[in-house]
Amino acid sequence: MDIGEGLMMMGKFIGAGLAMGIGAIGPGIGEGRVGASAMEAMARQPEMIGTLTTRMILADAIAETTGIYSLVIAFMILLVV
């Protein structure tokens, strides 16, 4: 392995790590906020827990989307290119 190939591998690994690590911050904050609000609402109205749980999972899955994008980008950097 010459130095050019080594530099390319290094760039790939660092890039994939950064893509996943930075990309996971946003969805983490978003899902945390969704969960916190849902918990508050559940404590206020315990009879709505069933509906609130469903809606919370849906909102989580939408907030997760940007994290999934960065996961796909990380896989593409590692495996495809």
Binding site: T65, I68, F75, M76, L79
Partner: protein, 279 residues
């Protein structure tokens, strides 16, 4: 907790668990190793004529799309006779479609468009749900090899879900996009539809166009990323542990749970995109 299982339920559960145990024995006997060679690669077939992107097809996507459509048609023809007192399959189907119908009825304000939008939404929901669920069972998959050939893996990976191909998802999202604008033209008329792009003020036109184009792209990439990312993640985790037990649990989580949620979200967003344009 008291489980009331009929004989056919026991046979069904027995076949499923027996299948998993048989796969486990098969993998132990043949000294199977998870391979990471063709991960993220697609089997692409070059048609004998033409050049460029339209001359290549993705055969596995086409085959599995027809398999999923055949499964849905088979299910529909099996429960054709609807009884007043529903059985198990009928009540499952009715509660699923009733949920989708309530979603459409809540978000669409014009009563005469509830039924056609429900047809679109339910078709999308059933197709994506079945193809995501198919992607959570071990089956046949194909990977390209180095020298242009194809290797078929049996029971090493899940069935190839057609929704893990971006072309399929982009087609579904573009279908929703085109249908939403067709409905918008029919409801508002051509003149006020064109005018809606120059809303609040005329120089917002490029921003409105970009906003419209971003809808199908994010719609398609969301489903694609979840299904393909889940599949690759399960494969890599399976490679790390080299046992069959963990992938089975992960296939259950990623295929059944996330697959059902993503099918529901795709449907909800399709309903929202269509109904926001026909207010």
């Amino acid at each position: 907790m008291n489980l009331n299982l009929t004989k056919s339920d026991k046979i069904f559960l027995g076949v499923i668990s027996g299948g998993y145990i048989a796969v486990l024995i098969y993998m132990v006997v043949t000294d199977y190793k998870f391979q990471l060679e063709g991960v993220g690669q697609r089997w692409i077939y070059q048609l004998p004529f033409g050049e460029g992107p339209l001359s290549r097809v993705n055969p596995l996507t086409i085959i599995m799309t027809w398999v999923v459509m055949g499964l849905i048609i088979f299910m529909v023809t099996r429960v054709k006779v609807f009884k007043i007192i529903p059985g198990k399959k009928q009540s499952l189907l009715e509660s699923l479609l009733d949920y989708v119908y309530d979603l459409v009825k809540d978000s669409v304000t014009r009563k005469e468009y509830v039924r056609p939008i429900f047809d679109i939404a339910a078709s999308l929901f059933l197709f994506i749900l079945v193809s995501n669920i198919i992607g959570s069972f071990p089956g046949i998959n194909a990977f390209p090899t180095e020298n242009g050939g194809v290797t078929f893996t049996i029971l090493a990976d899940t069935w190839y879900a057609p929704t893990s191909d971006l072309n399929m998802n982009l087609m579904l999202a573009l279908f929703v996009f085109v249908m939403s604008h067709v409905y918008a033209i029919r409801v508002k008329g051509l003149k006020s539809w064109v005018k809606s792009f120059f809303e609040p003020i005329w120089w917002m036109f490029p921003i409105n166009i970009i906003g419209e184009i971003a809808k199908p792209i994010s719609h398609a990439l969301r489903l694609f990323g979840n299904i393909m990312g889940g599949a690759i993640l399960v494969l890599i985790l399976g490679y790390l542990v080299k046992y069959f037990v963990l992938p089975a649990a992960l296939w259950g989580i990623f295929g059944l749970f996330f697959g059902a949620i993503q099918a529901l979200i795709f449907t909800i967003l399709a309903i929202a995109y269509i109904s926001s344009l026909i207010e």
